[in-house]
Amino acid sequence: MPVALVLAAAIGPVLVLLPILATLASALGAGWGAARALLFRPLVAQLLGNTLTLMLAAMLAAGVLGLASAWLVERTALPGRRAWAVLAAAPLAVPPFVAGYAWVSIAPVFEGFLGAWLVVTLTYTPLVYLPVAAALRGLDPALEETAMALGLGRWRVFLRVVLPQLRPALLGGMLLVALDVLVEFGAFALLRFRTFTTTIYAAYRTGFNADAAAMLAFVLLLLCLLCLVAEFAVRGRARYARVGKGTRRRARPLALGRWTLPALMVLALPVAAGLLLPLATIAYWMTRHAAAASSPAAASWGRLLAATWSSLWLGATGATLTVLLALPLGYLVARRPGRLATLLERAAFLAMGAPGIVVALALSGLAVRHARGLYQSAGLLLVAYAVLFLPLAVVSARAALEQAQKALEDVARALGQGWLATAWRVVLPLAGPGLGAAAALVFVSVSTELTATLLLAPIGTRTLATEVWANTASLAFAAAAPYAAVMTLFSLISTWLLARRFAAAAV
């Protein structure tokens, strides 16, 4: 049974490694001469400059904003703290390319760096806010009180006692922001900000540049893997040791006094710009006439329904496949930890550093050469989804299985049930809710996914995301609005799920 389990657990990681290795192989296969000509040229330097500048700017802005909002929500007597705790995470509900669509439709001034920076900062600040807030909740205020009693001022206490303890959460969150900036495609394309992803897409669109695209993908992949390794390292680093957790009190909330209004602004502005503004923009465009001339296709209820159905259907099948692949891996890691389990889990997590455009191009290339039956089928698109969202599913599956007591399984086995019956009658019911949540998260991610869908959707399949894309690319903002509205609704559901789980975990 362990062999079967290991084999089943390995399917997901192997699928993840496939496009990554194919990309590396095709870049290395181009030969040193070609590689040098394609890598050391002004364009690559410009892309590196653009991408890294944006990455650093977004990391810094999201870091400062995320830290400030987490501290305000967790440590001060802010009016409406509970509501802010949820609202601060809400901008995550707006897919970046929908936010990009909103900003670019407001005014052309947001094209380029400014818009790109705003969109990624506002959308991804919650990636810093959530872990830092959780870490703040877990801190024992006794340490800070001791430092104060020993004569440190408030500010110094924050710098020398609180901040060091938050470092893993803060750095980890900022690296996630960096990673998301690297792999983002739709928002930057709509905002006309050139990064590696948009240039790879341009090379693909102008055809004939397979080597150039492969080489850019190679550089992008290296940058992503670098971020990912850094993130592993930060998360894995030793925690601050203490003997026993003790029973901690809630920290006494700091009265803000005349700082209340500025503090409220710090929380309200990102929510207004990151959530309300895109929603309001979509609503505004909904009321405008969608002229037939500039839309790729005249908008109609039929088209909206068809796109919604495609998104739902792909989301449901994608989530099912991804969770099925994640289950044996999660089980292996939860029940039989060891080197092999860790290795497989890490391999699956590599997917976080695999940009959608790279995965899609690599899979399409593999299919056209080695698996014609899959080529241009929905099956290949589903495989791409499974690759992209496996980490999300594995984390949730593992957590769900760890919560299901192993003793109950042992009892079932001792009472004579086979492993299949045990899995079916004991493990599944116990871990069911957690797995359901995992499936829901993957479902929403798939149904709002743009990049892989754009490249791999079978003939005639149009999803909400590709419709928003096609209309916004030709500046038909009004025609894009209904699709964007339905998609954002999906996304709001996902964030609600996430926030609920976060709230439950942090009691």
């Binding site: 394309a189 669109r205 102008t206 001339a293 099925l324 690319a473």
Partner: protein, 340 residues
């Protein structure tokens, strides 16, 4: 009961998972004509609907950017599911023709349009045409200050005052034409100048929108996009105007939108019928009179959309379709100057 629902969930999941694979098999065995289209979606939808209505033959369409789709067909080779390729520009058709992937177009269909707009080999058909122009915003530049030649836009005087979309499929033929008429070195020099001068957009839609709202003084586009914007916004709200370069200038290039039957298609008869339908009088008339397509019908005797300048008044450069080439040189030059 708990058991039953779990079983139902698993069964449902299994069916869901199997469906796409089964569906793709069924689709391959199915009958609709498969069209790979790099033309505007609403135009293609209009054509395929009319075709299905008149012949009863269903059409399934895959959309994409022209070189991307051409490259896809080339990669798919003999196994390509495509029966017909319909695109905005001639170079991709030339490329597929060079690779012997196109079947000869029926003589009677070719005879419907003047021979100079179709493939010399007779393997693809010219259907519609668009002309390249310079759009400008009169608030930012006066008409008499506009250049006589497209090549002038690479001069330092135009720094920051011109927009273009080097990766739009409509731009590649212009680069090919410059190389054909003035030589490769001149094309390279022009692109270097443009890289220094121009605001870069992804496509002509972005260029025309930028010029119209005053984000940039001029932009290289096909007249198609200006007419489209003008139709959507109305005359009162459209600030931009069109400028044509001096007669025979390369900037006045005419792009041919054409179609071909794939040699690998197993539905030759229906595919040929689709081509014939494209240049039939009713279809060409419907396209010219629609408010979604702004191209010149190539079938003689059909008046173009009134927003377009009369076809006879255009003064295109002396370059043949073969001279424009197959886009590979253009893509190479773009890469050499670092625009791609």
């Amino acid at each position: 009961m708990f058991r039953l629902s779990r079983r139902a969930v698993l069964l449902g999941g299994g069916v869901l998972l199997a469906a796409p694979f089964v569906a793709s098999r069924a689709a391959q065995a199915g009958t609709p004509l498969v069209l790979y289209a790099a033309q505007h979606e609403q135009v293609v939808d209009m054509i395929t609907r009319a075709f299905t209505k008149s012949t009863g033959i269903a059409v399934r369409t895959r959309f994409g950017e022209a070189p991307e789709i051409a490259n896809q067909i080339a990669t798919e080779g003999r196994h390509s599911p495509a029966d017909v390729y319909f695109t905005e520009n001639s170079p991709e058709l030339l490329l597929l023709d060079e690779r012997h992937m196109l079947a000869p177009v029926e003589k009677s269909t070719l005879a419907q349009v003047p021979a100079r707009w179709s493939a010399p080999s007779g393997n693809w058909l010219g259907v519609l045409a668009r002309d390249s122009v310079l759009a400008y915003n009169p608030r930012l530049v006066t008409a008499d200050a506009l250049p006589a030649s497209l090549l002038d836009l690479a001069a330092p005087a135009w720094k920051g005052r011109v927009a273009f979309a080097p990766t739009d499929a409509d731009t590649l033929p212009v680069i090919g034409a410059i190389a054909a008429l003035k030589g490769r070195a001149a094309a390279l020099a022009w692109l270097r100048g443009m890289k220094a001068n121009a605001k870069i957009y992804d496509d002509d839609e972005g260029v025309i929108a930028a010029v119209d709202r005053g984000a940039v003084a001029t932009g290289i586009v096909n007249s198609y996009y200006w007419c489209r914007l003008r139709t959507e916004q109305g005359a009162a709200k459209t600030a931009s105007r069109l400028h044509r370069f001096s007669p025979d200038d390369v900037g006045n290039l005419i792009n041919v939108s054409g179609a071909a039957v794939l040699a690998s298609s197993r539905r030759q008869a229906e595919a040929q019928r689709f081509l014939a339908f494209l240049v039939s009088a009713p279809m060409q008339m419907a396209l010219a009179q629609s408010d979604i397509d702004f191209e010149y019908p190539l079938r003689p005797g059909i008046a173009a959309n009134p927003l377009l300048a009369p076809f006879a008044s255009l003064r295109p450069p002396p370059v043949t379709i073969a001279g424009i080439g197959d886009d590979r040189l253009a893509a190479r030059l773009l890469q050499d100057v670092g625009l791609v």
